[in-house]
């Protein structure tokens, strides 16, 4: 058996309570297939995702990190997802400046009714991360 068959990327998902999390629930009820190694953390709004959450996951060795929120204009708190988008842009920018793998973090808009989209993007991202291979930070002690 080669490594590619056994390696399951660890992915952390920060999901907004009002949309993506409910979407994920719906996907579950509908018995859609979701990558088994996706760990979901529920937040009350994508605007709650402090860049530190993402950084911590990344530095602890998560292979991929998904940020998910309501579609622009649909945030329960009006502007949380716009703030989230800026934070995401900033994080990517910082990763790029320092030569870190920015492909390992992503941002998606998934509404409460978009269970198929949820299944789709989690699957696609898991495949992409699998191609990237394990996060080298997994082995890095000196952080």
């Amino acid at each position: 058996m080669n490594m590619n068959d056994t390696y399951m990327p660890t992915i952390i998902g920060f999901l907004c309570n009002w949309c993506s999390y409910t979407g994920a629930d719906l996907a579950g009820t509908a018995r859609m297939k979701i990558p088994a190694s996706l760990r979901v953390v529920r937040v009350m709004c994508s605007g709650r995702i402090d860049p530190l959450f993402v950084l911590k996951g990344f530095l602890k060795g998560a292979d991929g990190i998904m940020m998910m929120g309501c579609h622009p204009g649909d945030c329960h708190y009006q502007k949380g997802n716009y703030n989230a988008r800026r934070r995401f842009v900033m994080l990517q920018n910082i990763f790029e400046s320092l030569g870190l793998e920015k492909e390992r973090i992503g941002l998606w808009w998934v509404s409460a009714s978009e269970a198929p989209k949820y299944a789709q993007v989690t699957k696609e991202f898991a495949e992409k991360v699998k191609e990237l291979g394990p996060n080298p930070l997994r082995e890095e002690i000196f952080l």
């Binding site: 530095l59 988008r85 800026r86 900033m90 920018n93 400046s97 320092l98 002690i141």
Partner: protein
């Protein structure tokens, strides 16, 4: 063209005269500037209320013991000072103060901001010593000639924002060959003009920018390109990052002196970031080893994600680092493209919202799918 006053004295004496006259004529009640502490070169920021004391003031002394923007914020945290105060600051200190005012951490109302076309400052590590006289001479020589003294703070050597934003008065220093005999002070704002209405010197109208200032800007830009290029060659990528921050003691001195890091309780100083036996154990299980103190890279990256977009490149952080990590260079290098994305110059304009605290509905449409 902007209004200016010309004083026929050497720059240091002229500035002293200006401050003294403001104080004596009761236009202001205090002067906030550097004060001489001993004969070996030690200085500290002080508030002068007595005109005679001003002989110990060193407004243009090329050291920055603390980013004064931070101190002014302490002074005005609960509202404007009751009496008008003149404050002599470096351009990056004013920008830091403006950033703090934007974050409701200070008040500009009763402060007369005086600054200069800045020649930079030296690292604090060379502050004390018997050679201060010759160092001062060397400094002013290089400011006149617009040479970039290789001993200056790295952030100063590559600073393009040495023409102050938001200063009421600007002392012409950089590139002024005859500064030993005359001094020009530009009056940039209405406030500046009002305060200067009856100070010594003759009124003129002059051009601050252009010519020599442009030349210096070009020189500094070249330095910046060089320093960043070197940085990219050596410090990019995970391995280099780990190597660069390996000696970090986790003292958090860099964030404590940073004017932008104003949070009273920083996440990284809080219990959340403490390592308990359980977290040590889990880290060991996960990675088979643990650096002590842990979490340094998390601290630096986290700090960057919170404030690099507002970094004014003052260089305080590098200056206090006990293990000589080029913190300010990293933060400036990371800050530059961030600031570019948001077309933001920290502290340029009070009306410009801090990028991390605002948004537009129609932007970065390709981020978020």
């Amino acid at each position: 063209m902007s209004d200016a006053i010309k004083i026929n004295k050497g720059i240091e004496e002229a500035v002293q005269d200006l401050l003294k006259s403001l104080l004596e004529k009761d236009k202001i009640k205090g002067v906030f500037t550097l004060r001489k502490m001993d004969d070996l070169g030690a200085v500290a920021y002080s508030l002068f209320t007595n005109a005679d004391e001003l002989k110990n003031a060193l407004p243009l002394y090329p050291f920055m013991p603390v980013n004064a923007g931070k101190v002014l914020s302490d002074f005005t945290l609960q509202g404007a000072t009751q009496e008008p105060v003149a404050a002599v600051l470096r351009p990056c200190e004013i920008r830091a103060f403006i950033e703090l005012v934007k974050r409701t951490q200070g008040d500009l109302e009763n402060i007369l901001l005086i600054s200069s076309t800045c020649g930079g400052v030296y690292p604090l590590k060379i502050l004390k010593g018997n050679d201060q006289k010759s160092r001062q001479a060397q400094y002013w020589e290089s400011v006149k000639k617009e040479d970039i003294d290789p001993e200056l703070r790295e952030t100063c050597r590559m600073c393009e924002d040495f023409i102050p934003h938001n200063a009421d008065m600007v002392i012409a220093a950089a590139g002024i060959e005859d500064m030993d005999t005359q001094c020009t002070i530009y009056l940039n704002t209405q406030k500046g003009k009002e305060f200067a209405s009856d100070v010594p010197g003759s009124k003129t109208s002059e051009e601050l920018e252009g010519g020599k200032i442009e030349e210096l800007k070009t020189k500094r830009q070249e330095q910046k390109a060089k320093i960043f290029e070197q940085f990219e060659k050596e410090q990019m990528g995970l391995k280099s990052l780990v190597k660069m921050f390996a000696p970090c003691l986790g003292c958090h001195g860099c964030s404590h002196v940073c004017p932008i890091c104003y949070c009273t309780l920083c996440e990284f100083d809080s219990k959340t970031c403490e390592y308990r036996p359980t977290s040590i154990e889990s880290e060991l299980k996960l990675k088979g080893g643990l650096k002590v103190p842990p979490g340094n890279i998390y601290f630096h990256l986290g700090r960057m994600s919170h404030m690099a977009v507002s970094c004014v490149s003052c260089g305080m952080c590098s200056d206090v680092c006990p293990v000589n990590i080029p913190v300010a260079t990293v933060f400036s290098r990371v800050g530059a493209p961030l600031q570019e994305v948001f077309e933001y110059i920290p502290g340029r304009d009070l009306e410009e919202a801090v990028p991390s605290g605002t948004y537009k509905e129609q932007e970065f449409m390709e981020s978020g799918k």
